[in-house]
């Protein structure tokens, strides 16, 4: 592999990885607080991309405005999902909430099929993202710089919220011990709602950028990236935001590099993440950066 090729694969890997990382953050935050795998997260990701499409087509919004509006709307939708499907189950066995999450996921996906139809749609992409910049022998798509940079900025914003603001303090408190947080006067339900809002907004941002990279809209498009991002969150250590970022970018790099080095493996690309997951769970069940969760007896 020449250096130029390597740099291109590297950029592709980081691009894909930062998309995974943005989704993984939402999974890891919800799991850290509620111990719930939010299956509906992959549908939130899909809806973000669709809302941009409809914002441009139906409301004639400029591209950038449509993106911001879609992110906000989807964030609100995430809060709504929590309110309707998860909050009534806070005291139920954890598996009930998990089944509820699977139900929401299927509901949103099929609702999207009903409302948007299952026909794949082409996505608008601004030209300046596609005109390759040439440096020496290296051809770089601006897209592969745009996505990681924007993702990085979003993650910095998230870190600020989690570590420097009051709701962030609440999130960290709840993830340590939800009962004590109640007792100490943390507005638990509101903080959880904020968590869902932020996580969903990040997933929407990821979905929108995903369609810039792979410009096809489909109601089922969220499933595979969603699962993989969840795996990235588990590999990085679920509950840890840094872990989700490392896991996401790592997974993106591994996928792109594995297929670049062994082209024969292309058909197995989707299985790679699951093999990685099973391997990690066996060696280090708490992931790379995860804290040990003790079974309380």
């Amino acid at each position: 592999m020449s250096l130029a090729m390597f740099v291109q694969h590297l950029l592709n890997g980081v691009t894909l990885g930062s998309l995974y990382a943005l989704i993984a953050i939402g999974y890891t935050m919800v799991y850290g607080i509620l111990r719930l795998i939010n299956f509906a997260h992959s549908e939130i990701f899909m809806l973000g991309a669709y809302f941009v499409f409809w914002g441009i087509v139906l409301l004639h919004l400029p591209w950038a405005v449509a993106m911001v509006v879609a992110v906000i709307v989807v964030g609100a939708l995430g809060v709504l999902v929590d309110r309707i499907a998860y909050r009534p189950l806070r005291d139920a066995p954890r598996i009930s909430a998990l089944i509820s999450a699977i139900g929401v996921s299927f509901f949103l996906q099929n609702l999207a099929i009903v409302v948007f139809s299952a026909i794949p749609r082409e996505v608008y992409r601004p030209d300046w993202l596609e005109n390759a910049i040439v440096v020496g022998d290296i051809r770089v798509l601006p897209l592969t710089l745009f996505v990681p940079v924007l993702s990085f900025l979003l993650m910095m914003g998230l870190v600020f919220i989690v570590y420097k603001t009051k709701p962030g303090l609440g999130m960290r408190a709840i993830s340590k011990d939800i009962e004590t947080s109640y007792a100490m006067g943390v507005p638990v339900n509101r903080v959880i709602a904020i968590t869902f809002g932020i996580g969903s907004a990040l997933a929407a941002a990821s979905g929108i950028m995903w369609t810039l990279r792979y410009p096809q809209l489909q109601p089922v498009m969220g499933m595979i990236p969603g699962f993989k991002a969840f795996i990235a969150a588990v590999v990085g250590g679920i509950g840890s935001i840094q872990g989700a970022v490392i896991g996401g970018i790592g997974l993106g790099l591994i996928e792109i590099m594995a297929v670049a080095v062994f082209p024969d493996l292309a058909g197995y690309r989707d299985a790679l993440a699951f093999i990685l997951l099973i391997g990690i769970l066996l060696v280090k069940p708490t992931g790379l950066l995860g804290e040990k969760l003790e079974d309380k007896v």
């Binding site: 111990r35 719930l36 795998i37 499907a85 009534p88 189950l89 139920a92 954890r94 598996i95 009930s96 998990l98 089944i99 509820s100 699977i102 139900g103 929401v104 996921s105 299927f106 509901f107 996906q109 099929n110 609702l111 999207a112 099929i113 009903v114 139809s117 299952a118 109601p219 499933m223 699962f227 969840f230 795996i231 588990v234 058909g267 197995y268 989707d270 299985a271 993440a273 699951f274 093999i275 997951l277 099973i278 769970l281 066996l282 069940p285 079974d295 007896v297």
Partner: protein, 349 residues
């Protein structure tokens, strides 16, 4: 009521069922027969998932994977050699795939056994994981099986799948296997082994403290469940006569999970009742997805509507009636006769 009467009643119930099936075969059209077949297969799948999840408490989302293994194994064993030659047009199959032949009954058992072996193989590493980790890992297993089916064309014919699988799976085979499954799982649940499974489900730590080798029993339950899931997949392949990797998506597991949750986790009766109800409802709701003609006016069908209805139904059940149709209760002859005698005595007094 003593044991003998109960056995007699069970045999009588089986006889009534077969009389009904015989009548159905004579008087029902092909479509209704097909629904009956699907009921039997869904019941097999739901019972097997209920054993794993409802009775042993292992949240497994790998059912589609076991079904795929059963379906492919059985299909390879029953496809005639000439049909195989026609199917494998892109690559030639392995010689043992080409040569493999077995009668239908053995092929179904073979499908179950290979699925059970796969269950054993993935169970050993995965069953040490906690509940939702186990769910996601078994989901991963099912996904890997699907990717493998896509990528080993010499074994599975890749994305094209198999067509023209002999349709041996008539209502007698399907309901026969349903009875076998129900009998086996009911026997397990009512035995000491079943008590161990339920002890693990209710409190793993306490079961461990009682000296139960948790891992071994979990593995046993998982393997038995995988066997019957494989059987269900095998029957489904022969019933539908075509299979391909796309068929075994997560949606398939979702359907089975929905039946089990609706019926009640930890109730065999519930699983059977929910299989009947949901299968009929699912077929009945097909009309919303296909175009309707009123005279020359055509109403367009709404694809996806069926699953919208079902996912909403699942949400309602989990939010408002978490124990499902039956909770953990079972149908018992005592209960039935108890009702009669109570009513009788009330009338008498």
């Amino acid at each position: 009521m003593d044991r003998k009467t109960k056995i007699l009643l069970n045999v009588a119930a089986a006889a009534v069922l077969s009389l009904f099936l015989w009548w159905a075969q004579e008087s029902f059209g092909g479509y209704r027969i097909q629904i009956l077949n699907l009921i039997a297969i869904n019941a097999i799948l739901a019972l097997s998932l209920n054993l794993i999840y409802g009775f042993t408490g292992m949240f497994s989302l790998g059912h589609a994977g076991f079904m795929a293994i059963g379906a492919y194994t059985c299909s390879i064993l029953i496809l005639p050699e000439t049909q195989k030659e026609m199917l494998f047009i892109l690559v030639s199959p392995y010689s043992w795939v080409q040569a493999a032949q077995a009668p239908f009954f053995l092929a179904v058992i073979g499908g179950g056994l290979v699925a059970a072996f796969a269950g054993l193989l993935v169970g050993i590493p995965l069953l040490r994981l906690g509940d939702d980790y186990l769910g996601i890992a078994t989901l991963g297993f099912a996904e890997i099986i699907r990717v493998l089916a896509n990528n080993i064309p010499r074994l599975t014919n890749g994305a094209l799948g198999f067509k023209g699988i002999p349709d041996y799976a008539n209502i007698w085979w399907n309901f026969g296997w349903f009875i076998i499954t129900l009998y086996c799982i009911a026997r397990i649940i009512n035995s000491n082994l079943g008590n161990v499974f339920m002890a693990i489900r209710d409190d793993e730590a306490a079961a461990k403290a009682m000296g139960i080798n948790i891992f071994r029993y979990k593995l046993l339950s998982f393997t038995i469940g995988a066997f019957f899931a494989g059987v269900g997949g095998a029957l489904l392949a022969s019933l539908l006569t075509t299979i391909d990797p796309k068929m075994f998506l997560f949606t398939l597991t979702f359907n089975v999970l929905m039946i089990v949750v609706t019926g009640g986790l930890g109730s065999l009766t519930g699983s059977v009742l929910a299989s009947i109800g949901i299968t009929i409802l699912m077929e009945w709701l097909r009309f919303v997805e296909s175009p309707i003609f009123i005279g020359s006016f055509e109403l367009k069908g709404i694809p996806g509507m069926r699953m919208v209805v079902f996912s909403l139904a699942l949400l309602f059940i989990i939010l408002f009636r978490r124990e499902g149709l039956m909770g953990m209760r079972e149908f018992r002859w005592d209960w039935l006769f108890g009702k009669f005698s109570k009513r009788g005595s009330a009338n008498g007094s």
